[in-house]
Symmetry: C2
Subunit: 188 residues, 2 copies
DNA sequence: TTTAAAATATACCATACGGTATAGTCATTG
DNA sequence: CAATGACTATACCGTATGGTATATTTTAAA
């Protein structure tokens, strides 16, 4: 593996575990077995490293999410597809999803929040598109697409958080239950 | 207002806006119009300041939450009470709730996460108690209380997040809708 | 085989960090 | 009045921070 990739791997591990601000550049290059100038040659700055890291993983993330988020006429089925895609990616890239979640909830003037903001807005728009389409068939959804999208993403991330913290596991049955809960509540 | 309180107010403002690690002690004392020895006299360390801050607000928080979380025989009604208590406190102390949310989702080895962990576990236990009680009347809830509690807290925090980010507002109607969504799904 | 560019190391910079030793100030109390 | 203890300012400590000037090695093309 070339140094560029080694740095990304080590940085992801450290950032997701201790937080961006608590990790020094020296710590990263030590973990990667290189020296500072090498890191600065590839990424220009610590912030540049964070941006590259997010760009790298988010590209693969949206490549999975966006096809899954095409409304197929059945809202339940569509939400199942998306949820499965999210769970799948989060499970395959736990460290990255941890970093993404912590960045999304980070303080508004923090670097990590501003670094991840555009990617989160893109997800939000993607979800809103689904509920806008669904509203054509389900009139009571009208003008609520923004909150629906936000709440659905929140629910997905809640369950991914449960899984990442080891409270429960993610399997096909979990996906069904989460969407069913979102659609029909806790009892049915 | 005495210096102790001024420091707490300034620290909360800065921590919630920029993040604990991104705020220096010097920045806090400048904002408070004092000098470092004063801060260290009252709080001993930067971490001690964070702990005092959380203890201060969490005391008031649980004084509101815990009475609201007493199961009254009707699960829907109980969840309404709790949700109202949460929304009410979050709205009254937006900066604190922002800090709490970002700390809860912070990386596992970060200081803020470990500082807030016990308070979050206390909330989790509180919620589990409700669902354990409700399971006596609703058999299908059995052995799910852990996940139910986590998911309910996740949903509450999702909607508080929506409100804190200005997407929607929190009023009595929102409380009803959130609990209704949790209990009966998106359509009904 | 020369040459140029990409990649990497040594050693360093200015600054900011969390924290403290010392010297008071000031109100309360005996 | 004397003295005590809570409180606060000046000035400083060692260390770690993000970042870089310079020099050297490696790689690949001409």
């Amino acid at each position: 593996m070339d140094n560029n990739s080694v740095i990304l791997v080590c940085a992801l591990q450290l950032f997701s575990q201790k937080g961006y601000n608590a990790v020094g550049v020296q710590e990263i290059v030590d973990a990667a077995g290189i020296t500072k100038p090498t890191l600065y040659h590839y990424f220009g700055s610590k912030r540049g490293l964070l941006d590259s890291l997010l760009a790298e993983y988010m590209t693969g993330f949206f490549r999975v999410i966006e096809p899954a988020a095409e409304y197929d006429g059945d809202i339940t089925n569509t939400l199942n597809k998306i949820t499965f895609a999210y769970f799948n990616y989060a499970q395959k890239h736990k460290q990255f999803y941890r970093l993404a979640l912590s960045s999304w909830f980070a303080p508004p003037d923090s670097e990590v929040f501003n670094a991840i903001l555009p990617y989160m807005q893109r997800q939000q728009k993607l979800m809103e598109g689904i509920f806008l389409n669904a509203a054509k068939q389900h009139g009571n959804m009208k003008n609520r697409h923004e909150v629906y999208a936000y709440a659905f993403l929140g629910m997905i991330n809640t369950y991914i958080g449960i899984a990442l913290n080891g409270v429960t596991k993610i399997d096909d049955n979990t996906v069904y239950r989460v969407v069913h809960h979102y659609m029909h509540g806790i009892f049915s």
